[in-house]
């Protein structure tokens, strides 16, 4: 328990640093951050008023503390482009991104486990070679290109699935029916390739290692059926497999911008993309902050779960 407490306490300065980095983005940007809001013929007086409104006239640390205090109260400022609260924009987008990333993780995890277990049991078989190819493929393929190729095959040539968007009603109106889910399939499958390869590789190595352990030989010698032995293998693989899955979910959420752009999926990646090109700094800072904090907390949760599952872990 003390390990978990230390781990949680350690996350606090990291979160503060992450917030500072997100906030600093607007200050490392070249040029005046007000340029995108000011009309080109704005007077010096108007510029000063606007700077005061956004707090740019105050010292850096004061601005940061002010921004952070508001952020902790759930206020991430107002989007320059849409004049809507950033929190509201991010909330809608995060839900869409989580939906997509969760489905992708589920697909990747299911097939990754399947490949990993078979490959670990039947080493040097065809499945084993396929699994090791899959793991190299998953981390080597530019996923934005894979998305394009899948769109070419399944939308342009076969016409089975839609290539872009999130279905009727746009981003706000989602339900788990075929009308909507068909829009999710291509981006989710594209995304699932990364965790699939990583999960397959991890599980294959783990299963192979566990099967070579003496206790497995002991279990077999005591006459346990293959199924019963398999249950022991699963029990030993589960903590690591779950933590890999948790981490991958985080990576997918943070890395989904390219895939969301290819498929015009209305998630955080899409939001980030428009924030960048409209120089909408409150929106940019807010989206990145939410994603990064989510990632840090997810890491923490994964560590906590792993400790609960496997009491042997007492890392520093």
């Amino acid at each position: 328990m003390s390990y978990l407490l230390r781990r949680a306490l350690y996350a606090l300065p990291i979160l503060l640093g992450v917030a500072l980095l997100c906030f600093s983005l607007v200050h490392i940007a070249p040029g005046d951050p007000l340029v995108s809001v000011l009309p080109p013929d704005a007077s010096e007086e108007m510029r000063r008023q606007l700077a005061a409104l956004y707090g740019f006239d105050k010292p850096f640390i004061e601005q940061f503390v002010h921004w952070l205090t508001r952020a902790l109260h759930g206020d991430l400022g107002t989007s320059i482009a849409t004049s809507r609260p950033v929190m509201q924009e991010v909330a809608t987008a995060v839900v869409n991104s989580v939906r997509l990333a969760a489905v992708a993780t589920l697909i990747g995890f299911t097939f990754g486990c399947l490949f990993g277990f078979v490959a670990g049991y039947l080493r040097d078989s065809a499945v084993d070679r396929a699994a090791s190819f899959l793991s190299v493929f998953g981390v080597s393929v530019p996923h934005y290109w894979l998305g394009m190729v899948l769109a070419i095959v399944f939308s342009v040539m076969l016409g089975w699935l839609p290539a872009t968007g999130a279905g009727p009603g746009g981003s706000g109106d989602w339900s788990w029916n075929w009308e909507h889910v068909q829009y999710m399939l291509l981006p989710a499958i594209t995304m699932s390739v990364i965790p699939m390869g990583i999960v397959a590789r991890t599980i294959r190595a783990l299963v192979a290692e566990i099967l070579s352990n003496e206790f497995i030989v002991g279990l077999k010698a005591r006459g346990l059926s293959d199924l019963a032995v398999f249950r022991h293998v699963v029990k030993n693989v589960a903590p690591t497999a779950l933590s890999v899955m948790g981490l991958q979910l985080g990576y997918l959420l943070g890395g989904s911008i390219l895939i969301e752009t290819v498929f015009a999926w209305p998630g955080t990646g899409f939001l980030l993309n428009s924030a960048i090109f409209q120089r909408d700094f409150p929106l940019l800072q807010g989206t990145i902050l939410v994603l990064a904090v989510f990632f840090v907390l997810l890491n923490l949760a994964v560590d906590a779960l792993q400790t609960l599952f496997d009491p042997r872990i007492q890392r520093n």
Partner: protein, 292 residues
């Protein structure tokens, strides 16, 4: 006496560590195949001006989006009627440069930071590694896009962003291997015999830590290729009309309905490069017997 002489001769004849690694790598067919592909790509990049069949910048309204195998355009033309083959060939230059450079710079900076942190320990270590942890807390793709999106499009900003992404990752590996080496007996012995910190690092630490860091860095090149082209794909890296595979993929995105396979070509190049770097890195890793 004779025994010792024999042993000395045997030691002299036995190949060095790197010779052994090289021999084991040469026997790995997959890694060698990947190395050959990369060598070919690098040669194509160097000799691009002599290999291009046409002007990669010459556009033509009449010859837009010709299919693969068109007379005079073996790989078709892009959305502005420019020769795809020539653009893919010249594109190898910027694409490889953008992928490899950040890892090279990060290898130098990250190793330096990590070795200093690992060897100094104490407060120096805490100060360096906590800052590194903050950058490490971001998923790579998110950090790269956040930084280059803020700094604005362009080759320099993209390289800077990617370097900032990789420095913490390399620094973490460097710190952990240096900390391990620092507590070994031969470092204690060197310190006890009065060697200065600089001498110890140069003579005993560097040659023990650079190998593992190098292996880790080679594995990052594949990620860097995908990320660098990804930035250009988003419009944040190389600017038109320069040919770069990620940017070409971006501008051809709308052409998937008219010339799907021409549109997919630049991505195939990124894929081939990235998987070759990965297979070579895997080969080097297993030749050096370092498990990940």
């Amino acid at each position: 006496m004779e025994m010792t002489l024999d042993n000395a001769a045997a030691v002299e004849r036995s190949p060095g560590y790197w010779t052994t690694v090289g021999r084991r790598l040469l026997r790995n067919r997959l890694a060698m195949g990947a190395a050959l592909i990369l060598l070919a790509l690098i040669l194509v990049a160097i000799f691009a001006p002599w290999l291009m069949p046409a002007d990669p910048y010459a556009s033509s309204i009449l010859k837009r989006l010709k299919p693969i195998g068109t007379e005079g355009y073996p790989l078709g033309t892009d959305e502005l009627g420019r020769d795809m083959l020539s653009r893919l060939i010249l594109g190898a230059r910027l694409s490889l440069f953008m992928g490899i450079t950040p890892v090279l710079i990060a290898f130098v900076l990250g190793s330096a930071l990590g070795i200093v942190a690992g060897y100094a320990g104490g407060w120096t270590n805490t100060a360096i590694m906590r800052v590194v942890d903050i950058f490490y807390a971001f998923p790579s793709v998110l950090l790269a896009i956040a930084l280059s999106g803020t700094l604005g499009a362009g080759v320099g900003n993209a390289l800077l962003s990617l370097t900032i992404v990789f420095v913490p990752q390399i620094a973490r590996v460097a710190e952990s291997v240096t900390t391990q080496v620092r507590h070994r007996e031969f470092v204690d012995a060197a310190r006890a015999s009065g060697a200065s910190a600089l001498t110890i690092v140069r003579a005993h630490v560097l040659n023990n830590v650079l190998g593992p860091i190098f292996v880790y860095a080679t594995g990052l090149i594949s990620v860097s290729m995908i990320l660098a082209s990804g930035l250009s794909f988003l419009g944040l890296g190389v600017m038109p009309p320069e040919p770069e595979w990620g940017l070409m993929l971006n501008t051809l995105r709308t052409a998937i309905y008219t010339q799907p396979w021409v549109a997919a070509l630049p991505g195939a190049m990124i894929f081939v490069t990235s998987i070759s770097f990965n297979l070579l890195a895997d080969g080097i890793r297993s030749a050096m017997e370092i498990k990940d």
